[in-house]
């Protein structure tokens, strides 16, 4: 609100020495970038000269700003370049093509509508995008698009599949079969079911980390409702024979859930020929965004689930909640690209693993966790005996990897996966997971060979266990305090 005195805006008036003075506002064209009179800031009394001087100041400032920004960017880029990312099994960067697609689904100019809105074009357009993404996902997996349900990620998919099936079919029985090396998103769900009086059988893998189909067959009982096993193990990359296991579960009329978070888009999956009933997927493991996943639910024979979320009836009532169009479109595009690039990506990864292994395999006391055959080459887990994993990660400071060592986990327990393979605890503590991906460069893998060799030998130099090993002392015979 402005007061007026004799028709004059009060903002132009000020009182000094008991007299009202009028401020003459500086016209816009006479202001510098901060709003000050440019005749003062340039020191030019003459208006024309002042304007010219302003242009010069502005362009100087601009070029200074641009060059500084470039410097910052290149500094950031070089830090990133110096740190090699070998943790693709943990998460992947989003593919630029995916980002472009996602951008179109956010603003007013883009497809921002609610795909559940049936009454206007904004909703219809969003629904179209969501369904296109669903087709992309189903084409990668060779299933019916109607068999795909969007979720927030593989963890939710696992929860929905296991709890949903166990609850829906509990009149048939309350026995579930899984394995000791599943992801926590499956194991913790099973622990929860145990509290609800379900009985869970945790199968042991063989020493390479494979769940044998025979073990599944032998564990199936009259009251078994569900078998839940992973396709590719996230720590060691070992691939389970889901085809053979599916044949067994189908013959025994038991539902088969597969956690495919690590495998979808990386190795071929043909749901048309597999006897898999439920399958969990994640976008961020395959160059899509975080926070989106899907669950495959077979239609023939029809699998029914009790929903976890109730609400607006989206996804045929199995998973209520407004669909995040941009996330879904991102996942669809990521899966479409994966479909195109799978063979090329897989070839590259196989090559990377060979380079690393050929460079390291002659080292003393080095162990492959899992097996090189029958495993996904993007995940390569090695134990360097007598060197603790976290210290090795610290020594390899320019390489981003993860470890099965207790010290990198909040629980202070070494990897339960490696222990389930029968690896002694000390080898579990000494493990490093290298996981490569689409943006890994050959020279990064080549450089890693010498870095690892160098760091391991330095750490062994300060390791009392290595010293004892060299002295021929049997560490198993020592009574440790």
């Amino acid at each position: 609100m402005w007061y007026t005195i004799g028709g004059m805006d009060k903002k132009y008036l000020f009182k000094r020495n008991n007299t009202w003075w009028v401020k003459v506002p500086v016209p816009l064209y006479l202001r510098d970038s901060l709003g000050f009179d440019l005749r003062k800031s340039t020191g030019e009394k003459d208006l024309e000269k002042a304007l010219l001087a302003r242009d010069k100041i502005v362009s100087d400032l601009k070029s200074k700003f641009v060059s500084e920004r470039q410097n910052n960017q290149s500094a950031e880029a070089s830090i990133k370049e110096r740190t090699t990312y070998f943790d693709y099994a943990s998460t992947t960067p989003v593919d630029e093509r995916v980002i472009e697609k996602m951008k179109d689904c956010l603003s007013f100019e883009g497809v921002f509508g609610n795909s559940g809105s049936r009454s206007h074009v904004y909703g219809w357009k969003a629904e179209e995008m969501v369904e296109e993404a669903r087709v992309n996902v189903s084409e990668l997996l060779n299933c019916d698009p109607r068999e795909i349900i969007w979720t927030s990620g593989a963890t939710e998919s696992d929860n929905l599949a296991i709890k949903g099936a166990a609850n829906f079919y509990q009149s048939k029985g309350k026995h579930v079969i899984t394995s000791k090396i599943e992801h926590k998103a499956v194991l913790d769900v099973c622990r929860q079911l145990e509290k609800d009086n379900y009985e869970i059988t945790y199968l042991d893998p063989d020493e390479n980390g494979v769940i044998s189909p025979d073990a599944v067959k032998n564990a199936i009982r009259e009251d078994t409702v569900l078998v839940s096993l992973m396709h590719i193990n996230n720590e060691i990359g070992v691939i389970n024979d889901i085809e053979e296991i599916g044949n067994i579960t189908r013959a025994n009329n038991v539902i088969f859930h597969v956690d495919a978070a690590q495998s979808a888009g990386k190795v071929p999956i043909n749901l048309g020929s597999l006897n898999v009933d439920l399958m969990s997927f994640s976008a961020h493991k395959i160059y899509g965004p975080k926070g989106i996943g899907a669950l495959y639910i077979r239609r023939k024979p029809r699998i029914r689930l009790q929903p976890l979320f109730h609400g607006g009836g989206q996804e045929r009532g199995i998973r209520a909640g407004t669909l995040p169009t941009h996330q879904i479109v991102g996942m669809g595009e990521a899966f479409r690209i994966a479909n195109e690039q799978m063979e090329m990506d897989l070839q590259k990864l196989t090559n990377f693993r060979s380079i690393l292994w050929n460079g390291l395999k002659d080292m003393e006391e080095i162990y492959v966790n899992g097996a090189i055959e029958n495993s996904f080459p993007g995940i390569f887990n090695l134990s360097f005996n007598f060197v603790e994993g976290e210290s090795l990660i610290m020594a390899l400071k320019n390489i981003a990897v993860s470890s099965g060592s207790a010290c990198t986990s909040a629980s202070l327990e070494p990897s339960y996966v490696l222990r389930a393979l029968g690896r002694p605890d000390e080898l579990a503590h000494s493990s490093i997971r290298f996981s490569f991906g689409r943006f890994t460069r050959t020279e990064e893998v080549e450089n890693t060979v010498s870095l690892v060799r160098n760091s391991v030998s330095k750490l062994r130099e300060i390791s009392p266990l290595w010293e004892m090993y060299q002295d021929g002392i049997d560490l198993d015979k020592i009574e440790w305090a």
């Binding site: 210290s391 610290m394 010290c407 202070l412 330095k458 300060i462 009392p464 010293e467 440790w480 305090a481």
Partner: protein
Amino acid sequence: MAYSQKVVDKFEETLNNPEKASVGRWKPGDEDFHRVGTGIVGAPACGDVMKLQIKCKNIDGVNRIVDARFKTYGCGSAIASSGQLIDMLKGKTLEEAQAISNQEIVDILELPSIKIHCSVLAEEAIHRAIDDFKSLRTND
């Protein structure tokens, strides 16, 4: 979890210049080996093992640690903690060394709470080494 710069520095110092950081050992047969007390604590299955050796000399009737060596298998903070302990030991009498508490190491290295056991290991190592040295003396 990110370590303090102090842990990182101590770790890298130890790794890159082990001799200067007192990494090493005295073996039976070495000169003055009868004046060396050894303490080994931890277990490979737990992910850390620390081996500490102290060389003591009787100076004016008091046993002083004149030199110390160590080797450690363990996470970065376990290696840094042992390096830190070594720095604190040299020149101390056995009584003074016995009084070193793990909290001092925690404070100096700014160890995160989940890594406090690394400093406890260091404290146990010096106690073991002192005990070992004293048992040698009584057998003299």
